[in-house]
């Protein structure tokens, strides 16, 4: 693991120097700002049951994740593979694990940076709002913790997709598909008649556990449930292990 820091700092530097990161940041913040304004209009029109933060984070899950994660992760492996520099990287005494973790760490760091900047939106609200009930600290903190924790898994999925794909476009689509399966697929699968069978009870149990929107709900209410944390941590570990294996498999068979 001696080279992890070298690779990590290099990857962060490369992401910060690259225009596509800033492009992704602009698109993301534009969309989030737009959503935020839209929410505020809804709130100023009529009273709602929940605080703006709650809806904000729900829309994050349903929408913003699909923008941020693929855009920040799709370059990580695909570009290097296309250019051929992955080969020169792996002929130095670094292990594939260090490379994967370094790239993952850098992508996650940028992800956190982008999300940290949305806190500015809530600051604006705080500065100008007269109604103190609009700003719910429990929801805010819970929501941002949820973003940090779920981000671990989502960014890992993005890096996984990038490691498998030969070019960025395929990585983008693959990441979108996998994230969609995880976020919406688990929700929609609850309605499948086939899974109502008694024999498939364990499968239903697993799917109930993996309800991502439910996790968000709990976190937004200020409940930090360690079962949910466990889900994300183990999911991240599994995805990263699969990524490392995937990179090595591509080398073996190419």
């Amino acid at each position: 693991m001696r080279h992890f820091l070298t690779i990590f700092s290099h990857e962060v530097r490369m992401l910060l120097v690259n225009t596509s990161t800033y492009l992704a940041a602009v698109v993301f913040l534009f969309v989030m700002g737009f959503i935020f304004t839209f929410l505020l209009e809804v709130y100023s029109a009529a009273a709602q049951e929940t605080s703006p933060a709650y809806d904000f984070f729900r829309l994050f899950l349903g929408f913003a994740v699909f923008i941020v994660v693929p855009l920040t992760t799709m370059k990580s492996f695909s570009e290097e593979r296309r250019l051929g520099t992955l080969e020169t990287l792996l002929t130095t005494p670094v292990s594939t694990a260090e490379v994967v973790l370094g790239k993952y760490g850098a992508a996650y760091f940028i992800y956190l940076l982008l999300w940290g900047s949305t806190a500015g939106l809530f600051y604006l609200l705080h500065h100008f709002a007269t109604d103190p009930r609009l700003l719910d600290p429990g929801t805010l903190i819970g929501g941002y913790v949820y973003i940090a924790v779920s981000g671990l898994l989502f960014v890992a999925i993005g890096v996984f997709a990038s490691a498998l794909a030969r070019n960025q476009a395929v990585a983008l689509v693959l990441a979108l598909a996998l994230l969609f399966l995880l976020i919406f697929g688990t929700k929609l699968s609850l309605d499948i008649q086939f899974l109502q069978l008694e024999a498939l009870r364990p499968v239903r149990g697993a799917l109930d556990y993996a309800q991502v929107f439910q996790h968000l709900d709990d976190f937004s209410r200020g409940i930090i449930d360690t079962r949910h944390l466990f889900f994300y941590f183990t999911g991240t570990a599994l995805t990263l292990i699969l990524t490392i294996l995937g990179v090595e498999a591509r080398l073996l068979h190419n």
Binding site: H3, T6, I7, M14, N18, P93
Partner: protein, 343 residues
């Protein structure tokens, strides 16, 4: 097999019975060779012969299907990281990250190769100087010309002062000036580091390399110094003569000088009545003087006379055309079996 600085192993690369198959097709089929410290070895072969695959296996990037590769005595398959510390590699097409600056890139590579920060700065200076990159060290790599990029690639390969440098087609796409520069760079490494270059630009290999391995269809079909190869594969010395006179009398004259001297071809006569004749012989010695005297004695008028050495290109074409079972040269019986041959 531990290696200490005071007693470095004489053989820096050992390859034994290397095989690599891709889905049933053997890209590298039972290849064996060794490289000594300080040697420059050329790996020649047509496209698809298995050169790049062999080199990639040497660097530890690609695993082999079977066989043993040792770098400075360290087996690459089991102690890959250790072996990689002794290798500098420049892949085909020299892939470089487009958005880094030259000095940034070299610094990053140096850190990856575990060179300490202090030593790295001085080593960077040396390498930039050696590869004539000082003036362009702050430029972005994506904006460099091909020749400069090759120099960056070579600088990166020699950065860690590795015992073994592996270069896959280092002069491809360069113009003659740039080829000269790269050639001098590589030649300057002789004695300190072992270099193995793959190429199909034959004049380059002929000039730069101490030894040549010709690989075809995944097997080594010939190996040796360029001179040995010429003798072994082609086995004949050629004399080219422009002469005028009675061609029918020529065989007798030749037989008188040397029994194995025969006419290989004649062309002409041209406007002045001169024929362009080629004689071949299996003898190595200089037959120029007795031949000229004999020709003059028989009233042949000789306008031009030269002994032509077959080039490596001739050797290459001959070596990669023949199959394993064909034995078509007179001195085949005395030839020792090539490395990597089937038993």
């Amino acid at each position: 097999m531990s290696t200490t600085d005071s007693n470095p192993p004489p053989l820096t690369i050992e390859v034994e019975h290397l095989v690599r198959t891709y889905g049933g097709v053997a890209a590298v089929d039972d290849v064996s060779f060794t490289v000594r410290r300080g040697e420059i070895v050329g790996l020649l072969g047509p496209n698809g012969a298995g050169k790049s695959t062999t080199l990639r296996i040497l660097t530890g990037f690609l695993p082999a299907t079977s066989g043993i590769v040792r770098i400075c005595g360290i087996p690459v398959a089991s102690r890959t990281d250790d072996a990689k510390r002794h290798i500098g590699y420049m892949p085909e097409n020299n892939p470089l990250p487009e958005d880094m600056r030259v000095n940034e890139y070299l610094y990053y590579r140096g850190r990856l190769k575990e060179i300490g920060r202090e030593k790295l700065r001085s080593r960077l200076d040396e390498v930039l100087e050696l590869c004539d990159l000082k003036r362009i060290q702050h430029r972005i790599i994506g904006k460099l010309s091909k020749g400069m990029r090759q120099r960056v690639g070579i600088a990166e390969a020699i950065l860690g002062e590795p015992d073994v440098i592996i270069m896959d087609e280092p002069t491809i796409g360069l113009d003659p000036h740039q080829i000269l520069i790269v050639r001098d760079l590589i030649g300057g490494l002789r004695g300190r580091m072992s270099v193995i270059i793959s190429s199909h630009i034959l004049p380059e290999i002929e000039v730069t390399c101490d030894r040549v391995l010709i690989i075809n269809g995944g097997r080594i079909v010939a190996q040796g110094t360029p001179a040995e190869l010429r003798r072994e594969v082609l086995g004949l010395t050629h004399y080219e003569v422009h002469l005028a006179g009675e061609l029918a009398a020529l065989p007798a004259v030749l037989a008188q000088v040397e029994p194995t001297l025969v006419i290989a071809s004649t062309a002409g006569p041209d406007a002045d009545g001169f024929h362009h004749a080629t004689f071949t012989t299996t003898r190595d010695e200089e037959l120029g003087e007795p031949l000229l005297r004999a020709l003059a004695a028989q009233s042949f008028r000789v306008r031009s006379f030269s002994r032509t050495q077959p080039t490596l290109e001739d050797v290459f074409l001959a070596a990669t055309k023949r199959s394993w079972d064909v034995v078509d040269l007179p001195n085949a019986a005395s030839r020792k079996p090539e490395g990597g041959g089937r038993k």
